[in-house]
Subunit: 197 residues, 2 copies
Amino acid sequence: MLTGLEEKVLQFITRYIAQNGRAPTLVEIGAALRIRSKGTIHRYVESLIKKGQLHRTGRGWRGIRLTGEHSRRLTILPLLGRIAAGRPIEAISDQKEINFSDLLLGADRYVLEVHGDSMIDAGILDGDLVVVRQTETAENGDIVVALIDGGEVTLKRLRKHGARVELMPANRSLTPMIYPAERVHIQGVVVGQVRLY
Amino acid sequence: MLTGLEEKVLQFITRYIAQNGRAPTLVEIGAALRIRSKGTIHRYVESLIKKGQLHRTGRGWRGIRLTGEHSRRLTILPLLGRIAAGRPIEAISDQKEINFSDLLLGADRYVLEVHGDSMIDAGILDGDLVVVRQTETAENGDIVVALIDGGEVTLKRLRKHGARVELMPANRSLTPMIYPAERVHIQGVVVGQVRLY
DNA sequence: AATAATAGAGAACTTTAGGAGAACATTCAA
DNA sequence: TTGAATGTTCTCCTAAAGTTCTCTATTATT
């Protein structure tokens, strides 16, 4: 059973690791809790270790870990909350994590740089990168990399109408392209989109 | 467990190898990290070898390699070419690679889920994830996470006008918000945007 | 009232991270 | 072959961090 302060120390350590990827120092913990003494903080940490909430890796600085925490991968970043782009709301702090491995892993993934504006209404801008999963089949509504007549490649939203295939740009000023199914070969499906600022 | 500097050395070596196809020299590593002593760098490299992050091929110059486990981190995907979203052009096949590590690396990065439509004209849609670099300073034109009056958080494009700060939504139907500089605190700058389909 | 648990301060000490650089050995390319 | 570039092995140093200890105060329980 944890005391009030032990609970707060543990919460702070948890949040710090989630945000910074490494443990805080004793002084950093103390600063957060308005405690000036390193010795006092040290006592709490030792107590939390004894109670099984924390453990130590080696004996260097910042050498404490949460118990049971799976090893952090570089592709996992903390999801700190939701931010309103509409009207201001407060950012929520929770424990979720975003695993980019889901987007990146797999030998069948590759990246294309998008050129042009035809998918702008789907939030895919000129210069964006799209992560594509290599496949020859796609569902209605997927954004696909389509090979037309074996020569040209384009990025469009797919709509199948029996023997005909509609490749729909996401841009109000452009019109859909309609082809017989045999002229269009799916090269892959967009599974993600990334933009670097 | 790696120390802060060990982590930086490893990141630099990883990036250097990805860019140049061969390992850096000790002096090159030192120059990147503003460390003058070869001996100090050598100590870090030895430590990373002992900790299994690097290994040596023979003993020539530039004779270090990334360990198998490390190079298996799939933050690098092949960039196969450009795809036209406007009118069809052919996909170019070249050797470039996209290094997502640049986006993901660093303990100062975190992710926010965007809620709302105010950045829609910048291609940031409701539900998108933005990768934020924690900082208190930003340049004109940056998309920033701004804390207003210490209470509310919002995502907007920054424009500074002397003592006044303009937070501009990227949505034609919304108007900019203008505040005295002291009411607005920058929490971070958007360095990337990711959408998972 | 006595006791135990909780809580904080801080002094004194040890250990670790990190940096500089000298001296020497090895490797590579002109 | 030879010298410059690179790698290796040292020692010395500092600041930051962790550890151990004592002293004190408060609060709840018996």
